[in-house]
Symmetry: C2
Subunit: 720 residues, 2 copies
Amino acid sequence: MSQTEQRPDLAKLLWPRTVAVVGASPDTESLRGRIMKVMTGHPFAGTLYPISRSHAEVMGLKAYPSVADLPVPADLAVLIIPAQHVPAELERCGKAGVRSAVVLSSGFAEASGGQGAGLQDEMRAVVKRYGMAVMGPNSEGFANTASALCPTFSPAVEPSERPLLPSGRERGQLAVIAQSGGIGFSFFDHGRAKELAFRYVVTTGNEACLETLDFADFVLDEGKVSALLMLLEDVKSPETFRRVAEKALKAGVPIVVNKIGQSEAGARAAASHTAALAGSYDAHRAMFERYGFIEGRDLGEMVDIAVGFVAFGSRLPAGRRVGICTASGGGGGWMADACAAAGLEVPQLDDATRANIDVHLPAYGTSQNPVDATAQALHKIGYAGLAELVIPSPAIDSVIVVMTARNAANLERQREALTRLAAQTTKPILLWSYTLPAPASVKLLSEAGYPLFTDIPNCTRTLRAMVDYRALRDRFVRPIEVRTPLDVDRATVQKALETSGRVLCEWEARPVLAAYGIGANAVGVLAGSAGAALAAAQDIRGAVALKVQSPDIAHKTEAGAVMLGLTSRDEVRLAYDRVLDNARRHAPGARVLGVLVQPMAPPGREVIVGIKRDDTFGPMLMVGLGGVQVEVFKDIALAPLPLSEEDARGMLDRLEGAPLLGAFRGRPPADIEALVDLMVRLGQFASDHADTIAEIDLNPVLVHDLGTGVSVVDALIVKR
Amino acid sequence: MSQTEQRPDLAKLLWPRTVAVVGASPDTESLRGRIMKVMTGHPFAGTLYPISRSHAEVMGLKAYPSVADLPVPADLAVLIIPAQHVPAELERCGKAGVRSAVVLSSGFAEASGGQGAGLQDEMRAVVKRYGMAVMGPNSEGFANTASALCPTFSPAVEPSERPLLPSGRERGQLAVIAQSGGIGFSFFDHGRAKELAFRYVVTTGNEACLETLDFADFVLDEGKVSALLMLLEDVKSPETFRRVAEKALKAGVPIVVNKIGQSEAGARAAASHTAALAGSYDAHRAMFERYGFIEGRDLGEMVDIAVGFVAFGSRLPAGRRVGICTASGGGGGWMADACAAAGLEVPQLDDATRANIDVHLPAYGTSQNPVDATAQALHKIGYAGLAELVIPSPAIDSVIVVMTARNAANLERQREALTRLAAQTTKPILLWSYTLPAPASVKLLSEAGYPLFTDIPNCTRTLRAMVDYRALRDRFVRPIEVRTPLDVDRATVQKALETSGRVLCEWEARPVLAAYGIGANAVGVLAGSAGAALAAAQDIRGAVALKVQSPDIAHKTEAGAVMLGLTSRDEVRLAYDRVLDNARRHAPGARVLGVLVQPMAPPGREVIVGIKRDDTFGPMLMVGLGGVQVEVFKDIALAPLPLSEEDARGMLDRLEGAPLLGAFRGRPPADIEALVDLMVRLGQFASDHADTIAEIDLNPVLVHDLGTGVSVVDALIVKR
C-alpha cells in the first residue's frame, strides 16, 4: 500500500467503537449466528448493530435493515453475505460514512471459474473510491483482545471460562497475522495453552485491499508487541515488505514466519544459469535472511519461538555457548546432543564455577556441562538455585534447565526464587520439561518469566534463533560501513546498455562491466579471420581460448562455440574453423561478431556470480560454487540488493560448499575478499541499472589463491 | 548376555507373584515411602512384602526384618538401600532363593571417585553366582501395566484417576526400555496423553547385569507389542543387539530409538583414513540403518512415530505418494510443503477420483491435491466421507487428513463412519489437527483406530518412517539373493596375513586382496634400483607412478614417497632418488622393500573404500567419495558386515554426493556395479579374516565410466 492522501485508517478497522454486522442472524447453527454469539459473548465496550432485513432484533440487540439506517455511521462493517452482494453493500457502506470493513464471504478470486475474480476487482474499486480500510474477502475476521472485540466465527475465540488474555501477572504481548483463517486462529489456540498474551489475531484472506504486511505495519507503529507470528502466502507489495521488515528489525520485534507454497516453487532446472537456479521461494528466503525473519516449520514450533522472545527478547544471548543443568543425566545428555545438532555449543564450565557447584553435589553428580546435580542436590537448592550457580560462568551465554514441571506444588514452593532470578538474569534461561507439565505449572512458570518447552528441538531451535537474531540486529543497527563509492560514469554505461541489443555477449558485456571494475583484467582480442586469431594468439604467452561472440548465442559452451587450452598454431587454426562451424550449426543465421582470443585464466576455484530479477522483489544477486557444487547439488545463495561487503560474506558462509573456499589439501584459502569485492561491484552495477537488466551471468569466475584476485572468465547480460 | 545354562529368568523379574521391597518405609516424603505408596496404590494381584528392620508394618502390610524371614522366597526383591549394603543384600536374596531383583540405589559406577565402580563389580559377581535376573543399579524400576505392578518411585505412575492403560476399546500395545529412568517414564507420560497402551516401562540404569536389549528380547518373545521405544546410552553385547534387532525386524515390530551421546562421538579427524573418518555414533547409526531402527530426535516425536505404527503397522504404505484432504486451504498447503520436506510426494490425483470428489465441492474448493473440500462440503460428508473419496486413487499410497479435533461432539457424530473406515482401509490414514484437540477427541480418534498428530513434521516424519520401514522389511524377509561364493583359498590367505608384519604396504597387501578379486588388474613391478625402475617403466605404455614400499610408512603420499605421471626416462630416474630420499627423511630407519613402478590408472571418479573395526560392533565397511567430498564434507557411509550387493547399493545411495556417480556434464554414469562388486568382495575378505584385521584402506579407488570397471590405485592393511 503506497503512502497516498487517502491512506486507509487501520485504527478504524481494528479499534472501532461502533460495529455493524451485515447479515447477522439469531440462528447459531449458521455462521451468521455463530459470529453474533462470539461477538456478544465478550465484553466489547462499543456498540454492536446487527443489520438484518428479516429480524427486528438479534440476540437481544436491536437490528437495522441497512447500514444507512444506523443512528450514527458505524466505524466498522462486518460483511457475512453472499459474494455477489458484497460490492453493492460496500458501496452502501461507503455512502453511509462507514470507514472500514471485514469481508468474511467466500467465492471471490479463490473460486475457480465463475465470476469470483471479477467480483473481487469490483469490490477493490469500490473500496478504493471511498478510501476504506478493508480486510478480506474470504477472511475469517480478527480478534482484538484488549477491546474484547472478536468479529469472527472462529471457535478458537468462542466465549469460555478461559479469558482471551492470560490471567495473573501481566506479560509481554504478540500478534498473529495470517492469510489463512483456520491457521491464524490455531496460533492463538496453541499459544493460549502456553499462556501467551495475544494482542491481535488478524486473518487477511484474499487480501484484495490490505495485505499481511499492512497490518504488521500498524501493529509495529503501536509499539505494544514483542513478537509477530505470520503466515504468508504471497507478498503483494515489495516496498511495504521492505519498509515493515526494516521497522521491525529496528524495533527489535522478531517476525516468526511460515511461507506457504515452498514446495511448488522448489522445482529447479538443471542448467547452471542464474535465472534457472533460483526460484521464487529462494527469493523469499533471501528477503527473510536479510531482515532476520525467523522461519518456522510448524505451528507449535513458531509459538515456542515466540514464547522465547516474549520472555527474553530484550536479553538475547551474546553467543552460542549454553550451560545445561538438570537432575536427569539422560535428559541432560539428550539436550546436549540437541544443542550440538542446532549449532549451539556446550563447553565445559570454568573451574571457579565448577567449584561453586561441586559444594552442593553428591559423588554421583557432575559439574562439567551438562551439570547433573542429581535429585538429591536439586531437592535442596531447587531449579532457581541450580541455575544461579551456572549462570555466572564466563564460559556460557545462556542456560537451559532440564526439569520436570509435572508437579505444580513443587514449583509453587520455588515461585519466589524463580521469579527473582528471571527478573535479574542478563543471560536468558530456557526450561525444558521432559514430563508433560501441569497447566498450573505452565501458568506459574510463565508468570515467573520463563519460556517453558516440552519439545527438545523447539527449545534448541528457539535458543539458536535468539543468538542469530541478536547478531543480525547488532550488525543492522551499527553505523553503516563506509565504502568509497565507485567512481563510475553511470550515464555512459546506461547509454551503452540502451543502445545494445537484448542480449550482450561477452565482448559487448565486458566494457560496461569493466566500468564498474568487474573483470577488467582479461579482455582479449576479437578476431574476424583465422589469420587475425593466429596473430592475436601469438601475442599471448601460454595457452589461449577461442570463443565465438554472438548476441544470438547466450550459452556458448553448450553450442560448442568455445575451445580451451590451445597451445600451437595448428590447434588455433583448426579451432577457429571448428567453433564457427559449431556456432552456425547450433544457431543458423546468428549474427557473429567474431571470435574472441583470450589467454587462459590461471587456475582457481570455480564460482558462478549472477543477477536474477525476482517477480516480486526485483533484482537479486546469486553466488554459487561452480561445477559440481552448483550443477549437482544446486548449492547457491541469493540476496536482495543493495549488497554490502558483510552481506556478501554472509552469502558465502551460507553456501554448503563454503569450506571449499578455505584451505584444504595443502592449498591456501581462496581470495575471498576479491570475490566479495566482485559481488559488491556487480550488486552496484545491477542496482544502478535495475530498470534495464533482467539477468547477468559471470560464469565461471575463477577465485585464485589468497592475495591473487579473481578472473571473470565469461560474462553475459540479458536486458528486460 | 550369552546363552548359558544359568540364563537369568526375566519372567521372574517382570512377572513376579511375590515381591519383597527391601528398605520399605511408611514415610511418603522419602523415596522409600513413595515407592510403597505407588506399589500399594495399584491393584497388583500378587503379594507385597515390605522388608524393614525398624517397622513391623508398612502401609497396612506386615513387614519382615529380612528376605530370609519371608513365608515363601520372593520372586522379586526391590532394593532401595544405600549402595554399600547392596552386594550383601543380594547375597542374602540369593541364599533365600530370590530369583530376581531391581536395584534402585545410586552410587555405583556412575559416581566419580570413591568405591562405586568396585561395588558394581561386587554386585555383578554375586548376581552371576546365583544366576539372578537383575535390573540396575541406579535404575528407576519398571511398570508392568497388565499385572498392575509398579516397583518404582516415578511420579508418572503414581495412582490417579487415569488408569495405567487407556480405557475403552482395546488398542495395540508398546513397550519402553530406557537406560535413563526420568526419560523412560516420560515416554509413558507423553504417550498416555495420546491414549497409547504401554505394556511395560523398563528403566535399566547402569546395566551391571541385564541390558536394554535383553529386555527387548524378552518382550519380543512374548509377541504382545507392536512397537518398542528405546533410549540407548551404549550397547554392551553386539551379539545380543544383532539377534534382537533381527528378531524385531522379522516380527515387524519397529524399534524407535534415541542414542544418547551423539555429539561427543561426533568429532571427526580431518585425515582421510577409514578409522579416523567414522566415529562410534556412525557405527551405531550403521547398525540402526541395517536393521530398520527408526531414530528419533525428541520424546514427543518418538511417541508420535509409535502412535502411527501401533495404528497402521500392519498396513504400511507401499510408496511415498500422499493424498492430503482438508477444509483448510492454508493447512493443506502447509502440510504439502512439509511432505515435500520429508521426501514424500503429493501428486495430482487421477481424473476419475477427481470427478468423484468434484461432485461434492463448491466452486471455491479444489480436488487436485491437496484436496480443499471447503467447510461447506466437509459439513455434509464429514472427514471419513472426504477421506473415502480420496483413498481409491491409484496415484497415492496413503492419506493425511488435515482437520480440527477441537470439538469432540462434532467428531462423536462421525464416530461410526470413522471407525468403519479405519478398519477397512488398506492405505494408512494419518490425522493432523491444526487446533489443539480436546482430550475426548484424542480418545475418540484413538479408539476409532487413527494416529492423531498435533505437530506437522512429526506427522510427515512418521509417514516417511512407515514407508521406509516397509521397504526395508520387504527386502529383509525376501529370500536372500544368491551370489556365487568367491572361490578363494582362505587358508593360504590367512597364512599370508599371519606371517606378515602388523602393517601390509601396498606391495604386500595386493596379493592377499587379489585372491578375493580385489584390484588384481594393476600390480606393477617392485624395483630395487634406479636401473630396474627404468626397465620396468620402459615396459609400460604411457605415464608411470613410483611409490616407495615400506611397512613402516603407512601413508606414503604424506611422506612424499610417491610421484605420479612420469613420462620420460629422466623423470623416472630423478623420481626414484627423490621418493627414496623423502621416505628416509620422513621415517629414518624404515625398512624399505623397494620402489613400486606402476602404470598410471585411467581417469575415473575418486572413491575411498575401507574397513574399520568399531569397538562395539566389530568390522564395518566404509565408502566415501574421494577428494573434496570426503575431506571437506566428511561424506561417508558405514555398514556392518556381511554386506550384500543391495546393502552396498544402499550405502552409495546414502552418500550426499551420490549424484556425482551418476551422469552429469555430459559424462556417462560411473560403473557403479563394479564398485558394488568391489565393496562386497572387500566385505567378504574382512569377514573371513575378521579376527586378524584392524583396518583396510583402498584409497583411492577410481571408478571408471559405465562398463569399464574400477582401479584400486593404492591399498593398505593394518592388523590388530
